[in-house]
């Protein structure tokens, strides 16, 4: 058996295929034709131009929050506060875009994104300070900061930053702050956001694996004491990385405002922050594979409407499918090794007859 079987993409694909088989069985149980299920998911995510645009648009926040989690994870920290950082980043992006509406587009859009990133980073900072000074585990503090952030934003858009309607939302951002479309198809369009997110992912990968600083950060994550003995300050790196992680989540929010919604509204994130955790752990916390897990998740998410109108299954069934697939992927290590054990037994069985008796 291979020692690093666990991290190979083959395991992932194998686990996925097992999950797909299970889902097909589930589909058969509720009366849909199993092959139709696979086909519909595929069609719904990538089958038409509109579907592909939709999937890529949904990939952006997952990729960025996933990167936020993965980066922190590499430095030995767990950031479960992406939801709050994203929400605050989105609101900050929208607020800055509205406040500086008169600026030209080439300044306004970057400013709006930077504001989102900065706010996310600032919101991550207390968690890491609490960890260093008071030993509060960052999982607890970031989780609690989520509620704080979401409710602060809810208050702000219902009051001072709202558009005066009862909907709890800001006015639409000026056109200059909108992410330019790079591709049009009917009533939908694709913005540059997914590309920028992919670029960021690549930069993070490059930084982590090819630079000295990236090496130091990874060393801290792998073994803080060893890193300390080697003259690397764990505390410093953890602070920096955690703030960077928060910034990425905040940036995800600003991207959503600039590219998709063009305004901020109450209950902004439908769980992107937590899906970022899923995306990061599907990819084993490595930025270079994150695009794959983000695309996988966004494909499932955007296929749900096709399952509804194509197969006429309840939307709740789609949650079940996703959960089954994710569970299979999460158990991929055992699934994979089990498969190989089986394979080896077949290989080593001396004669077919004997095997049948056994």
């Amino acid at each position: 058996m291979r020692s690093d079987w666990n991290s190979s993409p083959a395991t992932l694909l194998f686990a996925l295929s097992i999950g797909i088989f299970l889902c097909m069985a589930l589909a058969a149980a509720i009366g849909a034709r199993p092959l139709d299920l696979v086909q519909t998911i595929w069609m719904g995510a990538w089958g038409t131009t509109d579907a592909a645009i939709n999937t890529l648009t949904k990939m952006t926040p997952l990729l960025l929050t996933g990167l936020a989690v993965a980066l922190a994870y590499r430095a030995g920290l767990l950031n479960v506060g992406c939801e709050g950082q994203l929400t605050l980043g989105a609101l900050a992006g929208a607020a800055v875009a509205l406040a500086c509406a008169s600026l030209p587009s080439f300044l306004l859009l970057p400013l709006c994104l930077v504001a989102g990133g900065l706010t996310g980073g600032i919101w991550a900072w207390p968690a890491v300070v609490l960890r260093r000074r008071r030993g509060v585990h960052e999982v607890i503090s970031t989780l609690l900061l989520n509620y704080l952030a979401i409710n602060i934003c809810g208050y702000l858009v219902s009051g001072p930053l709202g558009d005066g309607s009862a909907m709890g939302r800001t006015p639409p951002i000026p056109p200059g702050a909108e992410m330019p479309a790079i591709f049009h198809s009917g009533s939908l369009h694709l913005t540059a956001a997914p590309l920028l997110a992919l670029l960021l992912c690549f930069c993070a990968y490059f930084w982590l694996s090819r630079t000295i600083w990236g090496f130091e950060a990874r060393a801290v994550g792998a073994n803080p004491e060893a890193a300390l003995n080697a003259g690397i300050s764990a505390a410093k790196w953890q602070t920096r990385i955690f703030i960077a992680s928060g910034s990425l989540a905040g940036l995800a929010g600003a991207f959503e405002v600039a590219a998709v919604h063009h305004r901020f509204y109450r209950a902004f994130s439908p769980g992107y922050g937590f899906d970022g955790l899923t995306a990061a752990f599907l990819a084993n916390g490595s930025p270079e594979w994150l695009w794959l897990s983000a695309i996988f998740l966004s494909s499932l998410r955007s296929a749900d409407k096709w399952l509804q109108i194509g197969l006429n299954v309840s939307p709740n069934f789609i949650w079940v499918i996703q959960a089954v697939l994710l569970l299979c992927v999460a158990c991929r290590q055992r699934l994979g090794s089990g498969f190989f054990r089986l394979l080896n037994r077949f290989r080593t069985s001396p004669a077919p007859n004997e095997h049948l008796e056994g």
Partner: protein, 353 residues
């Protein structure tokens, strides 16, 4: 994967591993399956916001109208629930491209309808609640305030503690109309009884949060409220739960006749006949008589009413039942204008009933 060597070895392992063949086969199968096989003609698609069907209110009423039309005119309606706000435009685009008639339920679709409808001139859109201008779009708005008024009247006449409450979903204009009408109704009842009835309003901020609905209703009950009016979509399911387990507290339901759900516990239900409006609109469209525009429907058109109060009428004094009947007649004749906005309630002159 820490360096290029690793990537290379992994790539080799990946391609030499038997599991990868299985996976590759699966992906190839998925690729080969032809797209056209899926394009079964779907004629009518109904879109809801994240609350979906089963809310025993707004969405269910509308869906009933579509189902009835489907039975009568021989089509199988499909239903598409949006999971998040980012889905509205893309779901609408998908639905519009795959059907002849798209029915959108709820105020939250207005922005995306504005964006999508003009791109599909051949598709007919029927929208409930909201005012959007497009040549292929018929919008129906309801005088919810009239339903709210009747609910407020019933609540105000019934309450023993002179304290009534409302649990609302999001404070969007149709819900505000309900609540304003309710306050006007309570005011009218207070005038008839010669006392002041206090109205407590709690907003959940979501149509899809039964847990919050329950806790808000409990808070109202703790405050001493003995009649609760719910206008909260799926959130209202939690409100019903809270009322069910509390003694001496009664509920007024919205949109759909639900008196039989908790006989004696539900004083009345306001009726909003969106099903009739949708049924008629679909019929007209299928008979090539589609009319675009924005239409107001109220008690005068038979679109707003109050349930029969089959299980609760005996709990009221006969004079109060007469008052409710009289209010209905006044509304139907159009003589009584009910405030639609919260700011107008204070200026509302309660009629003598």
């Amino acid at each position: 994967m820490k360096n290029p060597e690793h990537v290379r070895t992994h790539a080799c392992r990946f391609f030499s591993c038997p599991a990868s063949y299985l996976a590759a086969w699966l992906f190839a199968a998925a690729l080969l399956l032809h797209p056209a096989a899926n394009a079964a003609p779907a004629r009518v698609i109904v879109l809801t916001d994240a609350a979906g069907l089963g809310d025993k209110g707004f969405n269910d009423v509308c869906w009933q109208g579509v189902l009835k039309a489907g039975k009568d005119f021989g089509f199988e309606p499909l239903f598409l629930q949006s999971r998040e706000q980012a889905d509205y435009a893309s779901n609408l685009t998908l639905a519009a491209g795959n059907s002849d008639i798209v029915v959108t339920l709820g105020y939250l679709f207005t922005d995306s309808l504005k964006q999508v409808a003009p791109h599909f001139p051949k598709t007919r859109f029927i929208h409930i609640e909201g005012d959007i201008q497009s040549d292929n779009l018929a919008c129906y708005d309801f005088r919810s305030e009239e339903g709210g008024f009747l609910a407020g009247l019933v609540a105000g006449l019934f309450t023993k503690k002179n304290k009534v409450g409302v649990v609302s979903g999001m404070d969007i204009p149709p819900v505000e109309a309900y609540v304003s009408g309710f306050r006007a109704g309570v005011k009218t009842a207070g005038k008839a009884k010669g006392s002041t009835v206090e109205v407590n309003i709690a907003s959940a901020g979501s149509f899809n949060d039964p847990v919050k609905g329950k806790s808000l209703a409990k808070t109202l009950i703790d405050k001493g409220v003995d009649v609760i009016f719910r206008v909260a979509g799926n959130t209202g399911v939690g409100v019903s739960e809270a009322v069910r387990s509390a003694g001496g507290v009664f509920l007024i339901a919205e949109d759909l006749d639900q008196d039989a759900e908790m006989p004696g516990k539900i004083l009345a239900s306001t009726l909003k006949r969106m099903d009739v409006a949708i049924y008629n609109a679909i019929r007209d469209t299928l008979e090539s008589r589609f009319k675009a525009g924005h239409f107001w429907l109220g008690a005068a058109e038979g679109a707003i009413d109050l349930s029969e109060m089959k299980y609760s009428a005996e709990m009221f004094a006969p004079a109060d039942i007469e008052r409710v009947k009289k209010a209905k007649t006044l509304l139907r004749s159009g003589e009584l204008k009910i405030p639609r906005r919260p700011a107008e309630v204070d200026g509302f002159a309660a009629p003598e009933l």
